[in-house]
Amino acid sequence: MSFLELNNVHKGFGPANARTEVLRDIELRIEEGEFVAIVGYSGAGKTTLISLVAGLIRPDMGKVKLKGVEITEPGPDRGVVFQNYSLLPWLTVFENIQLAVDQVFPKWSEEQKRAHIDKYIATVNLTPAREKKPSELSGGMRQRVSVARALATEPQILLLDEPLGALDALTRATLQDEIVRIWEQDKRTVVMITNDVDEGIMMADRIVPLSAGPNATLGPSVAVNIPRPRDRKAINHDPEYKEVRRQVIGYLLGEGGKQRTAVSRKLILPDLLPEDLSEPRTLYGTKRKPRRRSETKREQVEVEA
């Protein structure tokens, strides 16, 4: 039994007649302490995958299990760093984290909680911004607050949804190192979503590519056996780096890049009943206008994308 398991998970959105199948047949096993990066196209369903693990949505089919227990609802044992920070704008940095800490450690004394919060603010190097509101922070700082909030609840697993997606390359590099440093302190399990293969290789133990949507699925995972600490400048010449990169990108551009043709795209063909001239016209409008049968009956035709 793995720490986190996704077995045959399917997820789609929308009512039956206008449905998008987002994820299909997701199989993923993650061991405790592992740092896994999921790399995929934009709109493939990466956030959907994270939300499934977070418990914010339920799979249509299959099971998501943490330590063998099925995940049915969200909970603070899974710390989530959302794609768009999701800080509450009316609270300061400290208060945002405090909201989480108050909830998870209700029995602690005020003093203990304060020290705990300050520790995590310091971990992400934000002590000077402690009393600032999110609107007064830069994108990178907000992202760090979001990471600190997730860490402060001491979750069993950390779910990062493109935590560095909105940042410039330089800030990104700094924060990558910071997240890896924090992870190495207590080796908590991390699932990180990213759209940048290099970021995955820099940070993760293993990279799992997610094919293009709709009907995305996970490709074969690629282990990154580059010793830590990884040197950003030297890594480009590492043969292992080149190999991992070749495999992941190879999958994403090749097999995983093809759009599935099994998508049922709906074509409603005109299907008219001719006007019936024998019906009399009445005051209340006529019944004899041509009737569009397709309004009552839907026909579905599968097309190649």
Binding site: P74, P76, L88, L99
Partner: protein, 293 residues
């Protein structure tokens, strides 16, 4: 120097010019009196004041000022129940408005929350609200009178509300509540899913979600509603006071209309307008504060 720059002549001069033009127009429309003195058949002097003009009985600006002077210059004087300084009347009206308005907010915010949170609630009551919303205060007041006809509410402080007061408060509340209800509902529906996800992941309890997430997130919308509601509450006061004959700006206006002193009507209109403007400005300031938060 800073002060001077902020109130540049432009932003001062043009409004003044506008006011001047309006006064001129007013003067043009208003009636002027000509006083003729003749000797009647008995040899006594008789003064005949004749008014003529577009609207013969409408007083000119100067006449209005002359007639209103004592009310404006001694704004807190009390000479009788319906003969008080203008600010004293304003205060009486404001107190009544405050009570009705407070009731409107107290009812409006929870109703707005229910409307925004529950689809079922919205489906059940939204049509009713849409029907009640455009009903005029003039229509509500008689109903309020009937409702509270035999009611007498004794407050612990020793103050008691009469039927007409209760009816007025009821009317103000029910008329001014709708912007708060609707804006709160819109605000609740506009809460980003992200904030709700945060609450869910942390497993905040229902009350904690309400007070820590939903309420602060809707505050800016609520304050827009509060501002619009205050505008309506102030609008309703005149109707309420007219029909109940309570002392206040509206009551004074009605009484002066019955007494045919038109200058005082104009005084009341200006007072109501200016007070309404100041209230709106104050609420805008509060609203702007919450917008940026």
């Amino acid at each position: 120097m800073h002060w001077f720059h902020r109130f540049k002549l432009d932003s001062f001069l043009y409004p003044l010019l506008g006011i001047g033009l309006c006064l001129l127009l007013w003067y043009g429309v208003a009636g002027k009196s000509t006083v003729t003195q003749t000797k009647d058949d008995w040899g006594d002097t008789v003064t005949i004041t004749k008014r003529h003009g577009l609207s013969a009985d409408l007083p000119t600006p100067a006449e209005t000022w002359e007639a209103s002077r004592s009310y404006v210059l001694e704004p807190f004087a009390k000479r009788g129940e319906l003969d008080q300084g203008i600010l004293r009347f304003t205060w009486l009206s404001l107190v009544l408005v405050a009570q009705g308005y407070a009731l409107a907010l107290l009812l409006g915010v929870p109703v707005g929350f229910c409307l925004g949170l529950s689809k079922t609630f919205a489906k059940m009551f939204d049509p009713i609200f849409q029907v009640l919303r455009p009903v005029s205060p003039l229509a509500w007041l008689p109903l309020g009178m009937v409702l509270f006809l035999s009611a007498k509410v004794e407050m612990p402080g020793g103050t008691a509300y009469t039927a007409s007061e209760l009816a007025a408060i009821f009317t103000i509340a029910i008329c001014s509540m709708w912007p708060t209800v609707l804006n709160t509902a819109v605000g609740v529906r506009a809460i980003p899913q992200d904030y709700l996800n945060v609450a869910k992941v942390l497993k905040l309890s229902r009350t904690k979600t309400l007070f820590k997430v939903l309420l602060p997130a809707t505050l800016p919308y609520m304050f827009t509603g509060f501002r619009l509601s205050l505008g309506i509450a102030w609008l309703v006061i005149v109707a309420a006071e007219m029909l109940t004959g309570r002392p206040g700006v509206g009551g004074f206006l009605w009484q002066q209309y019955n007494a045919l002193s038109y200058a005082h009507i104009i005084l009341c209109i200006l007072t109501i307008g200016i007070v309404g403007f100041i209230l709106d400005r104050m609420m805008s300031l509060v609203e702007a504060r919450f917008k940026t938060a």
